[in-house]
């Protein structure tokens, strides 16, 4: 890491802090009611004071999200591999997938509730249904970009479709896959919280819903901060894993840069 790099990072951090300070000053100077927009300091205090109450809900939302995410990844990889390999599957499934992904998921939650009752199950399913789409698309794209020459070399060796998929296709999709994981984990959060807001008595979504009907706006914002924090944390985790697993895809740029 060069000095320039560190200075850049310090700048970014300073600007983020500055954003919160500006927000605080804005609220103080305009005499804004905390029923409309609470001050960040207020939000942090609420977060700290109510943390023991919030904690089980955080765990609930996190668990729901991760469960939905893992299922979504499994489904997404299987479907993406299928679509990427078979032309017929591609032509059939793609319109269906695009159709499904265009449906606002808030419209689907009541159906899940109808089927499975309110609570954890619809939240997991909503997380799944919202997060698997980017994974399918990326896996399918990765598989479709295998060089035709290499495929010929392997076919001439007598390789089966599965051999090519296993040795070339799937490893090649890894950078696409990890890029999609970062997007998918954020989506999974949105899905889980959405469902909790509509139909659950646990989870951050539910806490925020209850708090807003009690006009406890600082607590609503505390919930938002928790969600944002969790989202950033998971994004970072997947970025780190991505760097470890698919370094080969970005290393080339590093060499050119130095």
């Amino acid at each position: 890491m060069s000095g320039l790099d560190i200075r850049q990072k310090a700048w970014s951090a300073a600007l983020i802090v500055l954003f919160f300070i500006a927000w605080e000053l804005f609220c103080v100077m305009t005499g804004m009611s905390d029923l409309v927009l609470p001050r960040p300091s207020q939000v942090f205090v609420t977060l700290f004071e109510r943390f023991p109450v919030l904690w089980p809900h955080i765990i609930q939302t996190l668990a729901t999200t991760m469960f939905g995410f893992v299922l979504g990844v499994a489904l997404g990889v299987a479907l993406g591999a299928f679509i990427g390999v078979s032309k017929t599957a591609y032509d059939t499934a793609y319109p269906l997938l695009i159709g499904f992904s265009s449906i606002p998921k808030v419209a689907v939650v009541p159906i899940f509730v109808l089927w499975f009752g309110s609570g954890t199950v619809p939240a997991v399913l909503t997380a799944l249904s919202i997060c698997f789409f980017p994974i399918v698309v990326n896996i399918a794209t990765g598989l479709a970009t295998t060089e035709p020459e290499l495929e010929d070399v392997l076919k001439a060796l007598g390789a089966s479709k599965f051999d090519i998929l296993w040795n070339v296709g799937l490893p090649r999709t890894m950078p696409f896959f990890f890029a999609s994981l970062k997007v998918a984990i954020s989506y999974a959060f949105v899905g889980a919280v959405l469902s909790e807001t509509v139909a659950s008595n646990r989870g951050i979504g539910n806490v925020m819903m209850t708090a807003s009907s009690n006009f406890n706006v600082p607590l609503v914002f505390a919930g938002l901060f928790v969600l944002a924090g969790l989202g950033v944390a998971l994004y970072v985790v997947f970025s780190l894993i991505e760097g470890q697993v698919t370094g080969w895809a970005t290393r080339k740029n590093d060499v050119i840069a130095t």
């Binding site: 010929d152 070399v153 076919k155 001439a156 060796l157 051999d163 040795n167």
Partner: protein
């Protein structure tokens, strides 16, 4: 709207008819083939490695059919090094794809190693202009990729022989002047080095047949000449049958023991001549009068073939 629908129906009908006819032809072809495969292999001094009997290839069907290769008969003995030269788009690569089983002949038969070709049974070594090394593997592991696919290596790969295979890969790397580069990643190597690794990957499973499609086309003149010598060395030690497609007549003259000149699309073989310069050949030899004369002869034939099509097109 109604006109459109009836038009679509009409086209569908035509397609159905065409595919029906195609199926019929396929059956006829199969019968013809079974007669052929019973015939004895013509005797020569060396066993026949590749035999194309009246093979032709047409891509597409009906009005959109594109003839890629006219009826061609070609026999190549084991251990021969044959270069295919000709104007671009003349079906040279199609012959390679026929021999490797990637394309089935529209008419005629292709026999390789005494058997009719089928993609799953071929196990030939192939190399193209694009080295297509997998970026997430080291060069050594890239070269060992065919061993993961071809029997009998495939079933031995996980068990005892992995170190043995690694030694084998490194021995090949040493032979092409890449000793010590096995642990590097493809992006750390130059174009010429990658192409050497590509040759190693094509040879690692000891194929009896090596198919090269303009392997040195993207390299500079000096690297190319260097690789000619390396390929000559590999051929002289491993003695596979080689079929090389190239645009470079000096390359053909330097490497091949036999050169086939092809006409413009749809290709057929215009000239088939042996090259008898002593081996190992050197780059200096390519500037001697005999070699230059051969070069000029080949060049004249290709120029003629090209102008013939241009007149035909005009």
């Amino acid at each position: 709207m109604r006109v459109l629908i009836s038009l679509v129906a009409l086209i569908r009908g035509k397609i159905a008819l065409a595919s029906g006819l195609h199926a019929l032809f396929a059956v006829m072809r199969m019968q013809a083939n079974s007669e052929f495969s019973g015939a004895p292999v013509p005797s020569g001094n060396a066993p026949i490695a590749i035999e194309l009997s009246d093979a032709s290839v047409t891509f597409g069907r009906g009005a959109r059919a594109v003839p890629a290769l006219s009826t061609t008969t070609l026999r190549i003995s084991e251990g021969e090094f044959v270069a295919l030269v000709g104007p671009s788009g003349c079906g040279k690569s199609t012959i390679l794809r026929l021999v490797s089983g990637l394309v089935q002949p529209t008419t005629g038969v292709v026999i390789v190693g005494g058997r009719e070709v089928a993609a799953r049974a071929m196990r030939v070594g192939m190399a193209f202009q694009n080295p297509t090394m997998l970026p997430w593997m080291t060069i050594e592991r890239n070269i060992m990729l065919p061993l993961k696919i071809v029997e009998p290596f495939r079933s031995q790969f996980r068990k005892l022989r992995k170190t043995e295979f690694r030694d084998k890969a490194n021995a090949l790397l040493e032979q092409v002047g890449l000793k010590g580069f096995g642990g590097r990643f493809p992006w750390q190597l130059s174009g010429g080095m990658l192409q050497r690794a590509n040759l190693c990957r094509a040879l690692i499973h000891e194929p009896r047949l090596l198919l090269l499609d303009e392997p040195f086309g993207a390299l500079d003149q000096f690297t190319r000449e260097e690789l000619w010598s390396i390929l000559q060395g590999l051929w002289m030690t491993h003695k596979p049958t080689v079929l090389l497609v190239t645009h470079d007549l000096r390359e053909a003259g330097f490497l091949a023991s036999r050169i086939c000149v092809m006409s413009a699309r749809p290709g057929r073989i215009l000239d088939d001549s042996h090259v008898s310069f002593a081996r190992p050949r050197t780059v200096a030899m390519t500037f001697e009068s005999d070699f230059v004369a051969l070069n000029q002869k080949l060049r004249a034939m290709i120029v003629d073939a090209r102008s013939a099509t241009q007149e035909g097109a005009a």
